[in-house]
């Protein structure tokens, strides 16, 4: 469904992505793993249209979307939950989630009332329903992440880009959340690409496939257990000369 073909992205002299290719099928769950600065976020930005790649193409459902603006991609069904939550501090939680519904793949087909209903439904799902009339600025960081998820789900995506959705969450919640995402994704046939830096356990339980990025290049790809057991991982993560 999503194909990234030989994408390269530079910022000035810095090469953030080097000739990266990947494919995500309908309903598949892919984890993209890598330490800080490995180019994960840039990859997401290329997929959902914040950046245009310097080289390479991005295809979605067989259509070349490389030149489509970000908002058009959202209408096609690519949703994203941000790593550092981008709350709209002065509007309510419910409205915030409704924005997801209004401008996602429902775009132009539903009105505010339906959007608010969808928002309520998704807020119930992530357990934020009780806070739906709070201003988003008053939520805690974990709550904001839940809201990001609810907003992304409300847009009825075909492809959901989860950017470090579980980082900074208590372990018990992480499990719950990943199970939840998995269930919703299975029910609705959503393909998921999730960026993971640290919380590997979730990845193991969650992903069908893991892709490892390091310094802008794809260096490993495979099943989760297989990738995690690879000795390269420790070196990438904890640094070289790990010699106690």
């Amino acid at each position: 469904m999503l194909e990234v073909l030989n994408v390269t992205k530079r910022f000035g002299g810095l090469v953030a992505l080097k000739n990266v290719s990947l494919k995500i099928e309908r309903g598949e769950r892919v984890a993209i793993v890598g330490p800080n600065g490995s180019g994960k976020t840039t990859l997401f930005n290329v997929i959902n249209g914040v950046y245009k790649p310097d080289e390479g193409r991005v295809l979605f459902e067989g259509v070349d979307i490389t030149d489509l603006p970000a908002y058009r991609r959202a209408h096609l069904g690519i949703a994203r939950a941000f790593q550092i939550p981008r709350p709209f501090p002065n509007i309510t939680v419910r409205e915030s989630a409704a924005i997801g519904a209004l401008f996602g793949s429902y775009y132009g087909r539903i009105g505010v009332r339906e959007a608010l209903e969808i928002a309520d439904e998704k807020l119930k799902l992530v357990n934020l329903y009780d806070k739906r009339f709070e201003l988003t600025g008053r939520l805690t960081v974990p709550e904001l992440k839940l809201l990001e998820l609810a907003r992304a789900l409300a847009s009825k995506p075909k492809l959901l880009l989860l950017d470090e959705i579980v980082a900074g969450m208590p372990p018990a919640m992480v499990d719950h959340l990943m199970l939840l995402v998995r269930r919703v994704a299975d029910e609705e046939g959503i393909a998921i690409a999730t960026l993971v830096e640290h919380v590997m356990r979730a990845v193991v339980r969650f992903a069908d496939r893991v892709i490892v990025l390091h310094l802008g290049s794809k260096i490993l790809e495979g099943g989760p257990e297989e990738v995690l057991r690879n000795p390269l991982m420790e070196e990438i993560y904890l640094g070289r000369r790990w010699s106690p």
Binding site: N36, R138, G168, G239, R241
Partner: protein, 239 residues
Amino acid sequence: MSLALEVRGVESGYGKIQVLWGVDVTLKEGSMVAVLGPNGAGKTTLLRTIMGIIRAWRGSVMMYGLDITSMPSHRRVELGLTMVPEGRRLFPDLTVRENLELGAYTRRARERIGETLELVFNLFPRLKERLHQKAGSLSGGEQQMLAIARALMTRPKVLMLDEPSQGLAPKIAWEVAEALDKIRREVDISVILVEQNVALALEKADYVYLLEQGRVVLEGFREEVLARKLDIVRSYLGY
């Protein structure tokens, strides 16, 4: 050995969002402390609070027995506290020389500027070659060196580094680390190091704190921590 820095029960955050929940950190004079932890654990916030860039909501920060909790940051610099911020925060349009001179902005530092410059050039000979270049035109590694050099120009007694290896190729990161070692050998200085590269941090630090969600979850001397390597790995990889 007296205490260079003593952080007691510090709570702080941004706007209404609390990030640190009662953090205690102690830095003995002449030692190097590493603060580890996954993204979002509050490491940078801790440094910014110690530096006085953001205000501590509760708790206290003492430096050599002096309460500096509510002092503006430039006063703290005068007292000998400084930091190499995350992302370096150099002045891209100023030359390397001007960046260094700014480091020696306080009176105490200015008086010894010649001496310090010599020291810095000894540590980072490459900076001397690039003296009149604009900071923005340096490579990543050079920028990091300049950032450290600029911090040294303030004649710190306590130096805090926020992820000095970030975005650097491993080889360069280790060069930076070596330079840090050299600094500690040549200048009488105490260091707080916040680092992603656990291996690097563990190799250099005397004492280690592991931060998770704004709280210290593990601390100990380097040897103790190395023995509990698994805990760190768990924290990082989330097993």
